[in-house]
């Protein structure tokens, strides 16, 4: 087997995650799908690192994780405070962008 298969898997996971973002209305689940996409990217990065034989890919994946952690913290805080004020975690309820 060639490690390229990992990349195919990453692509698959990324597409699934993206579809989830588009389909689900629960903000938490949407958020989880975003995490899934990030993880898929990380897998790709790690695989690249292996394919090219240097560690830069892993470093980037590492930073991604850190940034994802920060993002999750803030994102979940937003969801919580949103839930407090609206009593709902549905992304469709916050449709104030409409004219």
């Amino acid at each position: 087997m060639n490690p390229v298969n990992y990349l195919y898997l990453a692509a698959l996971l990324f597409a699934i995650g993206a579809s989830g973002v588009l389909v689900r209305r629960n903000a938490i689940v949407v958020f989880m799908c975003v995490e899934l996409m990030l993880n898929a990217c990380n897998l790709a990065l790690v695989t690249f690192s292996r394919m090219h034989g240097n560690l830069d890919g892993q470093i980037v994946a590492f930073f991604t994780m850190v940034v994802a952690a920060a993002e999750v913290v803030v994102g979940l805080a937003i969801i919580v405070s949103l839930f407090r004020s609206r009593h709902s975690a549905s992304v469709d309820d916050a449709s104030l962008m409409k004219l």
């Binding site: 389909v23 992304v91 449709s95």
Partner: protein
């Protein structure tokens, strides 16, 4: 001596500037200043004239180069003057008659509160006219050409509160502009053909280019002359121009400005000599106008309009003569000068009559005035005798020469032109006799005006009669002085050239025929207006008479075709601009607005919908990138 030339122009120009900018302080003295400066210009002209007489005939021309006016690559226009015998003739005529008319106006305009401005305009006219005749290139001539047009506009519309005057002024300027267009195209043609438009080089090398070009230049110059000199088909403004004060009619619309066309053609003689086709058109225009003006003059009851018709006709003579080439140039100018005297005199006389008759212009309301205004009667009468060509007076000599020259043209052309000129002489005698009889003879026919003031005809003040007397002297003696011993021919020959021509008829025959024509004309007029009383209201008259009263319907044609047509054209263009040109733009805007109204519905406010479009967009970008790589 050359440096004096600029002074000719500078004096009246200064007068115009001071009088027009000076404000009310000059109201009391302004007219004197204007008159003195006009006189000063005349004196300068005389000094230059005496100087010129002292020189060898071939080397009389003076040149003065002031400064380079428009220096542009390949295009040199200078402010430079040239004073030769031809210009000199005009200078003396313009400043001389001009000064007289300034003096006359002091009396005539005495009661007008805007007299100062009137004199300012007159001075402006003198300056422009002088520039016109002493310019040494066509572009500077053009400056004077339009300058006199402006002065004419201002003076015709001097009584601006009268809508007719304002309209007449506008009409005069517009019709003149059509002519000016001809002049500017002629100048452009000269520039592309000769690379210059100074008189010297252009006229010297006139023979070196194709006849087609020369014909084109000639026709364009003729168009200009038609505009300025009120020749068919651009004659319609002259009759209306009589709305201006009478001294203006005398100076501008009889003696000087309207003859500028003749000057232009004579000055450009070299071009016309080399373009016979253009010359032919010139004589046709002259001949047509000669008859046209005369017929119009026969039908008018307004004394000034009758004289205006006469002016048109007389200028027709001059143009005719100028179109004959070297045979006629000198006689055209000669007739121009004598005409300047007697026509100015006639107009001043008419003004004097109007002055005494509460500004009444209808000759049917005059009659028997010779008893009330003896001086006016005598001077007007002498002018009358001169214009009809009474043997021995000015008009006789100059007109006789033109008729002779027309016959001398030779061939069928000569016969036709000569006959037309003779016919014109007869009609001239008719309508001038009519004017004379209706004004000064018969019973008095005036009546109280609407407010009950009955006119009290009286002789005019000295300031008005003196110029009239001086001009009457000119009308009597100038022709004889010029003609006897060929003085005038010798004077102008170095400039215009002279060709005696071969007349099929002897000089005596022509003179006899002229006298016969004169007698016939006078006789008919006497039969119609002298023997029986003149009706107070004009009879209906024949078709021709009615058409002639309306300027032979030419104005109606203009009105229907040009004015109405123009109005419709502009109105429809305004509509087109608003709904078509602008409509396309507004329509585009409206459709964009509608489209965005549709597209706006896609903005439903759901973040997920926006996410779909982002995601889809990304997919498209990736697809495009891959495709680009694949290709």
């Amino acid at each position: 001596m050359e440096n004096l030339i600029a002074l000719l122009v500078a004096a009246p120009l200064l007068g115009a500037a001071v009088l027009l900018c000076g404000g009310r302080r000059l109201d009391k003295t302004g007219h004197w200043l204007g008159t003195v400066l006009a006189g000063a210009s005349f004196v300068v002209g005389l000094i230059l004239f005496t100087d010129m007489l002292g020189k060898d005939p071939e080397n009389r021309a003076l040149h003065q180069h002031l400064f380079s006016w428009i220096p542009v690559e390949g295009f040199q226009a200078d402010i430079a003057f040239q004073l030769d015998q031809l210009s000199m003739t005009f200078v003396l005529l313009i400043t001389g008659v001009g000064t007289l008319i300034h003096i006359y106006s002091i009396g005539y305009m005495e009661h007008d509160e805007r007299r100062r401005r009137f004199f300012g305009y007159l001075n402006l006219f003198l300056a422009a006219m002088l520039i016109l005749v002493i310019a040494d290139n066509y572009l500077l001539l053009y400056v004077g050409w339009e300058g006199v047009g402006l002065a004419s506009f201002l003076l015709i519309g001097f009584w601006q509160h009268k809508p007719t005057a304002a309209t007449a002024a506008k009409k005069a300027f517009l019709v003149n502009r059509v002519g000016d267009m001809g002049l500017s195209i002629a100048i452009m043609l000269m520039f592309t053909t000769f690379g210059t438009f100074a008189f010297g080089p252009v006229l010297e090398s006139a023979g070196e280019t194709s006849q087609g070009k020369l014909t084109a230049i000639g026709l364009m110059l003729l168009l200009a002359a038609c505009g300025k000199s009120a020749q068919v088909p651009l004659q319609s403004w002259l009759g209306d121009a009589m709305e201006g004060p009478t001294p203006v009619s005398a100076l501008i619309h009889a003696a000087t400005m309207v003859t500028a066309g003749v000057y232009l053609i004579v000055r450009s003689g070299a071009i016309f000599n080399a373009a016979p086709d253009a010359q032919l058109v010139v004589v046709i225009v002259g001949a047509v106008t000669l008859i046209f003006g005369a017929i119009v003059g026969c039908a008018k009851d307004d004394i000034k309009k009758a004289l205006a018709g006469s002016t048109m006709s007389q200028i027709g003579y001059m143009i005719l003569a100028a179109g004959l080439g070297p045979i006629g140039y000198i006689f055209a100018i000669m007739h121009l000068v004598t005409h300047g005297f007697f026509k100015a005199g006639l107009f001043l006389g008419a003004g004097s009559v109007m002055h005494g008759m509460n500004d009444e212009v209808d000759m049917r309301k005059y009659g028997g005035l010779r008893k009330y205004m003896p001086v006016t009667f005598v001077t007007f009468g002498l002018g009358y005798l001169a214009i009809i060509g009474f043997p021995g007076l000015s008009g006789f000599f100059s007109k006789d020469k033109i008729i002779e020259a027309a016959f001398a043209k030779g061939g069928a052309e000569g016969w036709i032109l000569g006959s037309v000129a003779l016919l014109g002489a007869a009609i001239t005698a008719f309508y001038m006799t009519r004017v004379m009889l209706m004004t000064f003879f018969g019973e008095k026919r005036w009546q109280p005006d609407a407010e009950g003031h009955e006119p009290h005809p009286h002789e005019s003040p000295k300031s008005m009669t003196v110029p009239m007397i001086v001009l009457a002297f000119g009308s009597v003696f100038a022709g004889g002085f010029f003609a006897i011993g060929d003085r005038f021919v010798n004077w102008l020959e170095p400039v215009t050239g002279y060709d005696h021509g071969h007349s099929p008829l002897s000089a005596a025959t022509v003179t006899g025929a002229t006298v016969v024509a004169l007698v016939v004309g006078v006789g008919i007029a006497w039969a119609m207006y002298g023997r029986k009383p003149v009706p107070l209201v004009a009879p209906r008259g024949s078709v021709l008479t009615r058409a002639a009263r309306r300027d032979l319907l030419q104005d109606d044609f203009n009105h229907v075709v040009l004015v109405r047509g123009g109005e419709h054209l502009t109105r429809s263009l305004v509509y087109v601009d608003h709904s078509l040109v602008d409509g396309v733009v507004n329509g585009t805007a409206a459709s964009v607005g509608g489209l965005s109204g549709r597209l706006r519905r896609m903005q439903n406010g759901y973040a997920r919908t926006y996410a779909v479009s982002m995601f889809g967009g990304t997919a498209v970008v990736i697809a495009a990138t891959l495709l680009m790589r694949a290709v």
